[in-house]
């Protein structure tokens, strides 16, 4: 057990109760007040992308879906490739700060905070391969690690590198239009059987869903049976 909160560095005070003695306790890594600020997504969500429907304007909700996903699914180029995305947390200001420290400042240790939750969700989703969204070589060197792969590693799970980047520009600097109209951002690595497999893509944030859909399309065209995604946060 860590003695200090990994987010705010305050000392962690252990609360001893009967369960401390009788059950194997989950390791505490963050203090209660930081934990409180991580908001899990609850209530009605878009049945494809996990977007919390109660939090968006009614004009962007079409039945059980958000209008973005409706748009994707009406587009014959993208229809049906990505079966769905499960996001765990709301991308609130607190998580924004945490993810920025994790990914951009490179505070690798923060991956541990999400390990347990991630592991539980991944178990429910029964996949043949867990595929972290790859970074370009330059970006991976710059950051020192791939944030999606690190999440899996810290959860004690094995990554399969089915994909690699074809070129590398920062996604966050592009508009939605730019992202969607990129010709091809991934290619397949060899030596894996893809045909008939259930593939779970892993990434830190779902923003427009375009990265994940590019990956899904490529994998489905290569014969994958089912491609879905798990992301830490839904922005």
């Amino acid at each position: 057990m860590s003695e200090y909160c990994l987010f705010c560095h305050e000392e962690l005070i252990e609360h001893i109760s009967w369960s401390t003695f009788f059950s194997k306790r989950e390791e505490e890594l963050v203090c209660p007040s930081c934990q409180e600020q991580l908001e899990e997504i609850t209530g009605k969500r878009c049945d494809i992308c996990s977007r919390p429907l109660e939090r968006i304007d009614a004009q962007y909700v079409v039945g059980t879906r958000c209008s973005d996903c409706v748009r994707w699914e009406n587009d014959s180029e993208w229809q049906g490739y990505l079966a769905g995305n499960l996001s765990i947390y709301l991308y609130n200001d607190f998580l924004k700060e945490i993810i920025s420290q994790y990914k951009f400042r490179g505070d690798y240790l923060l991956a541990k905070v999400f390990a347990q939750k991630l592991k539980t969700s991944i178990r429910m989703l029964h996949a043949d391969y867990l595929v972290p969204i790859p970074l370009s070589t330059e970006r991976q060197f710059e950051r020192g690690f791939n944030q999606a792969e690190a999440l899996l590693r810290e959860a004690g799970l094995h990554s399969t590198h089915l994909l690699q980047r074809t070129h590398g520009e920062k996604q966050s600097k592009k508009s939605r239009e730019d992202r969607i109209h990129l010709s091809q951002i991934f290619q397949l690595t060899d030596s894996f059987v893809i045909s008939g497999k259930r593939i779970l893509l892993i990434d830190d944030i779902y923003t427009t869903g375009s990265t994940l859909r590019h990956a899904a399309k490529l994998l489905r065209k290569a014969g994958a049976d089912y491609v879905f995604a798990l992301t830490l946060a839904r922005s």
């Binding site: 860590s2 200090y4 490179g106 505070d107 690798y108 240790l109 020192g144 690690f145 690190a150 590693r153």
Partner: protein, 499 residues
Amino acid sequence: MRFAIFDKKLVPEPLLSEPQTTQTIAKIGEIPQPSRNLHFQYCNDVRKRLIGKQLLLDEIPHTLDEIHQHYEQGYITLRKGIVFEKGTPRCQRCGNQKPHLFSSFPCSRCRELCTYCRKCIMMGRVSTCTPLYSWSDSECQSARETANLVWNGTLSFGQQVASDEVVKAISTNDDLLVWAVCGAGKTELLFEGIRYALSLQKRVCIATPRTDVVQELTPRLQAVFPQIDVASLYAGSPDRHKYSPLTISTTHQLFRFYQAFDVVIVDEVDAFPYSMDETLQYAVQNARKERSSMIYLSATPNQQWQKDCRQGKRNFVTIPARYHRKPLPVPELKWCGNWDKKLKQNKLPPNVMKWLKIRLDMEKQALLFIPKIELIPKLLAILQKLDSRIEAVHAADPERKAKVQSMRQKDIPILVTTTILERGVTFPNLDVAVLGSEEQIFTASALVQIAGRVGRSAQYPTGNITFFHFGRTEAMLQARKQIQNMNAEAAKKGMIDIE
């Protein structure tokens, strides 16, 4: 990043023409430093960015090739970002050596398990494979810059004595503590010392814990040294890469400096976070040159420093009186019973209530200091019944600036505040009370600072300062003693006018 050693020089892995044995910088015993090739035409921008600094590769907007070339020619020095002492890591940038503030990860740059510092990660990651880049000397050989002092004010007698001591310490590269009471006029007494240092081509830095002080000092110093382009450094400031003979910086920003300054002036050495954070003290030490002068400014040095002064172990000068030559208001100590319990019953101790009512009746503005934020709602509920214009502020209050402004404009009769307003603010005609002055947060130095809010202006040099307590503490007595001592010293030296 990994390095090969080739021809007694480091070569970064990405620049190797053929595969060679490489290792991380942490594992290299002594880092080879090529001697300087005087015929090499160095890039002035590289020099300006790196002189007196310690930067990560990612912070330098030049190619690895160019940086490496400057190293090969003896103009850039690399140091290990993390060193291991008896197996435990120490961050060379921020000095952190607390084990829980380090972690390790499989690093794509060195392909090893890499240990990194979490303490200063907000400034970019320093890990075992991270070099810190500096210019290989920190002498400013730039064209002589003239630094005329444009100021026609006069110093008080006390300021003059201190100013002379500052000049002396700078000329002999010594350290000096300027122990000046709140309202002594600390900034002006530095002018002559700074002018003197600049005239000798020395590089000067004023470091202060708080961004607002940096922003307030910059225009003042820019105005008196108009020929110099003053660099103003705080998180997010546009001057980050500016090279200047006179830098005004938050203590935090000094993490990027290395053996840069001939004179470092540290403002408010006793103030949070500097006094509490060893890494900030490390940063300040790291930023000064080996031969340099350090001027500490404080109104309230801690017990240890005061003892060092008494025992002659620390070079110091005092300014026991304010520039307006009136004695410091001495705090009154008043017992007010269990104020916490009273508050829970939505009441204030009667003597506190009376004190506040008198201020409202006299229409004299007042600050009421409280020990914790949580008390604010209850207090406001009581006080706003007396006067609806009464407000409260605390550190995280988004309207903090606006409220301080309304206080200045006299729109607020009484402002309830946490220790956030204990220093730096001046309201001309003011009384001050502390509720619960026995609480731990009110250290002797905090209480002296709080008392120092009263009677600052020459127009209104007096005022009342009362500590309402539920049991006297050592801190309260020390604070009062310190103020009385200063007044006695000032009287003896003829620095105050006694009517």
